[in-house]
């Protein structure tokens, strides 16, 4: 399967994929059917999302209520706000890219190693 075909095939559904932020190994996101969950840096988050082809919308995310250092908490807030603003998704075998409505890249994730 060529790269374009692979991208098209995988973008059909995020379900079952698990990703780690390319900037921070503690930030991750996992997709299960319509459910999204992961770690925002300090707290676990979870919620629901809708995806149709390359379009995505993430509903308001719930989080646990731990505290970490102030710097981590601010980064966590930005991570969650950015995730909730994602409108487009691109994905290949190794990378997930979330973009805003204007097509600007918001976040990049690497696929979590399997095994």
């Amino acid at each position: 399967m060529g790269l374009i075909e692979a991208v098209m095939a995988v973008v059909v559904s995020l379900t079952g994929s698990h990703w780690v932020s390319s900037d921070n190994s503690k930030q991750s996101v996992e997709f299960k059917a319509s459910q999204i969950s992961g770690n925002a840096g300090c707290n676990q988050f979870f919620g629901t999302y809708n995806q149709k082809d390359s379009k995505i919308s993430v509903n308001p995310l719930a989080t646990t209520r731990m505290a970490c250092s102030h710097d981590v908490m601010l980064k966590e807030h930005d991570f969650l706000a950015t995730l909730e603003s994602a409108k487009h998704v691109e994905m290949d075998a190794n990378m997930l890219i979330l973009k805003n409505a204007n097509g600007q890249v918001l976040m990049k994730f690497n696929r979590k190693d399997v095994g």
Partner: protein
């Protein structure tokens, strides 16, 4: 998050200093409705079971709450002791428990001997979000230190609609609300995280209503074994830093006057209208608590 991670992160926290002027300026620039805890400092010795989980010696504002349920056991949330790093579950195997006071800097500290999250804890739904911590040595009960009695199913069934109290050292403002209300103003930790234990009253809500409210947001499930507490209009809630801490209700049959009915678990933001705080029910896990303590 691993203990190493916490140590790294907390260097920054320890470097922050309290700026009284900044605190006053920030407090003045927000409105009452922005105060998500909207509680008050707790009276001395009023909540003698309240503890703080520190993840290392340098820990300051990071961490979780919990409650003494006997001289050697602490009840908290599973998510306080199970983290995710690089997409993998990590289990906290040791921590330090601070107890015996309201000021974070003046708590007596004791090491942990064993940390036991519920085996069926699910980080993607927060089902079974409960854990027990065995202390390395029993604490001495006395002024400011005591165990809380736990709720029973019979008591829980009578509590919907009644007032409960949640306590903790968690954030008094939601970061998101703070930023929206104070554009351009730096979010100062001294504004968010109190040194003195706080308390706030919140009514226990019908589970069906809570589930319906969260279902409106795309269908976030509220698992069996959890309860919801808060105000329809929002404004009072637990928040980041309160996880694992106790939600208690008055009960004249307890010698302490209260029983712990919940453990702080999760929410969407803090103190948002209709989005009540979600707590793990202690009565639902009484058998697990008893058997875990008995077997360890």
């Amino acid at each position: 998050m691993t203990a190493h991670g916490f140590k790294t992160l907390l260097v920054g926290a320890c470097a922050l200093t309290l700026l009284a002027g900044g605190l006053a300026a920030h407090a003045a620039s927000t409105t009452d409705t922005d105060m998500i805890v909207n509680g008050k400092p707790a009276d001395a010795n009023k909540w003698p079971w309240q503890i703080r989980i520190f993840y290392n010696d340098q820990d300051a504002k990071g961490g979780c709450g919990g409650s003494l349920i006997s001289r050697q056991w602490v009840l908290t949330a599973a998510h306080c002791v199970v983290f995710e790093d690089n997409g993998e579950k990590q289990f906290v195997d040791r921590a330090i428990i601070g107890y015996g006071g309201n000021n974070l800097d003046q708590l007596t500290r004791v090491n942990t001997a064993q940390i036991i999250p519920h085996a069926d804890y699910d980080p993607s739904t927060h089902a079974n979000d409960i854990a027990l911590i065995k202390l390395a040595e029993p604490v001495e009960f006395g002024t400011g230190t005591a165990a809380v009695d736990l709720s029973t199913p019979e008591l829980f069934n009578s509590l919907v609609g009644t007032k409960a109290t949640v306590t903790g050292w968690g954030y008094t403002y939601d970061i998101d609300k703070f930023k929206r209300s104070n554009p351009g103003v730096d979010v100062d930790e001294s504004v968010l995280a109190p040194n003195e234990l706080q308390e706030v009253d919140v009514p226990i809500q019908p589970l069906e209503k809570c589930r319906a409210n969260y279902a409106d947001l795309g269908g976030i499930p509220v698992p069996d074994g959890q309860l919801c507490a808060g105000l329809k209009v929002g404004g009072k809630d637990s928040c980041q830093g309160d996880s694992g801490g106790p939600l208690v209700s008055r009960d004249p049959t307890s010698s302490k006057g209260y029983r712990q009915v919940g453990v702080v678990s999760w929410g969407i933001g803090c103190a948002e209208a209709k989005l009540f705080g979600v707590y793990t029910r202690t009565d639902f896990y009484l058998d697990w608590i008893k058997s875990t303590i008995s077997n360890n």
